[in-house]
Amino acid sequence: MKTTETPAPIPAEPGVTLTVPGTPAGKPPRRGREGTVLNVFSHGMLVLWAFMVVMPLLWAVMTSFKDDSSIFTSPWSLPDKLHLDNWARAWTDANMSDYFLNTVLVVGGSLVGTLVLGSMAAYVLARFDFPGNRFIYYLFIGGMSFPIMLALVPLFYVVNNMGLLNTIHGLILVYIAYSLPFTVFFLTAFFRSLPTSVAEAAFVDGASHTRTFFQIMLPMAKPGLISVGIFNFLGQWNQYMLPTVLNTDPDKRVLTQGLVQLATSQGYKGDWSGLFAGLVMAMLPVLAAYIVFQRQVVQGLTAGALK
């Protein structure tokens, strides 16, 4: 960065007097030194936390390639060889493939449902004046601050009475219902911010309301749909409480639930290496997706909290 420059007395901040005109000549060295100490400290803290974030994840990946005995005797040593059989065992014997499939089905179904139903409701609430509009809106967004656990006990019996307990489609419907508050809230604000003229022009040209929505408004709302879609995807993929209560059939378990059951029940005969392989298997796809779509994920998630 500054290879060709003459070394300044305090290399840390050679440019202070240039960028801040009028700084007294005696000041830069003092501030420079203070800045260096702070920099070492702050960099140290930043590196330390990065280390603390990465280490447990690396440890899990490393452990998933070791055999059972070395997991117990020397948890931090490198695997003697890559025990890929752990992964194969987890995928087939420990039913990770089934859990994966179930999760993909449930999350796929509920994500599409959430976005379609959420945007329909949000569009109507944002764009049309009718009696009860405000009431319905607040009814929806009220759900954001209520503890789910309170509703969970009666919900169990509602779902049971409808014959939807331990079914994939039952879980999908419940996921959609619990994702609606935030989705409606976010998309209502988004639809309000879109210009009205385009939709009105389409309507004047003879397009029905329904057609105007699906052909004009929905494509225009794509950025909002992506943000809220990512937020919902992560929330639904990582959901643990709802399936734990509503989905007790071992064949229908989703990823999080299946892994926890494997780890806590004695059923899996202490196959720790297989368990770690399953754990890493469940972590890697989301981490990979995050690294690839990093910007969108961050935008989607922070949009969720800021509102």
Binding site: K2, A12, G15, T19, V20, G22, E34, N39, S42, M45, L46, W49, A50, M52, V53, V54, T63, I71, F72, P75, W76, L117, M120, A121, V124, F130, L139, F140, G143, S145, M149, L150, A151, V153, P154, L155, Y157, V158, L173, I176, A177, Y178, L180, E200, H209, Y240, V245, T256, Q257, L259, V260, L279, A282, M283, L287, Y290, I291, Q294, V297, V298
Partner: protein, 308 residues
Amino acid sequence: MQHGKYRFIVGFLAAPLGLYAIFVVWPFIQSIYYSFTDWTGLSPDFQMVGFDNYTRMFHDDIFWKSLWHSLLFALLLPLVTISLALFFSFMINVGGRRRRGGPAISGVRGSSFYKIVYFFPQVLSIAIVALLFAFAYNPDSGAINSLLRGIGLDGVQPLWLGDPNLALWCVMAVLVWSTVGFFVVLFSAGMASIPADLYEAALLDGAGRAKTFFRITLPLLWDTVQSGWVYMGILALGAESFAVVQIMTTGPGGPDYSTTVMVLYVYQKAFRDGQAAYATTIGVALLIVTLLFAAVVMRLGRRERLEF
């Protein structure tokens, strides 16, 4: 735009509103009603018992324990997480040393790298994170104790999750670990929108970094901090603490109920002990705590809105 308007509105609202009413609103209303009954959840018969469940709750030691732990989660956890996140995001965005000809303030080198890495735990399921740390905390073969052994601290081998005095803190540490990165990114976005000339003026006046943080950054970021606090508190009272406590600590909410929280207690009473009515009573208490928490934080944090 009047033609067919109401048919359209009804058509578009029916499905989402219907689902929401059946699976969210109706169970909420029911649960408040059930809290006045002696319903077990196992048989369809029950009777109204008035406030019996509530009286019982006030005499229930485990309820008070779980309430206390939930309050700790809602107050302490956001405090630690948000302080750490503010520190890191200030360093990442403002803490960099000045470069020749560069802007008056800048982030440390590699700031985008830190932001990406810190966010890792946020995309992972809290259940999977809890599982991972349950292994790491294992006193005999877990990563943490063997790390301590590795650096010569053989004498220091805590039981972690098995120690009633430590278990709650261990569980909380995991939630801090998994949430800090999210707030770093959130606050960084807020800091990026603070105009650089404010910092420049402060630096000209000879303000140090600590001063710029408390006089400029924090006041201008206050709205974000406050909504972050509420957001985290609600999570800590509900879903997140359920997952970590249920998965990581053994038995009925940790050794001697030392880690039990309200959500977990609701779950156990309803689905393990067959006391659905009593469970909903604790649920109502949880609802009240949640609403009070949000109201208090919003009220205490109210300030003049700063414009820039």
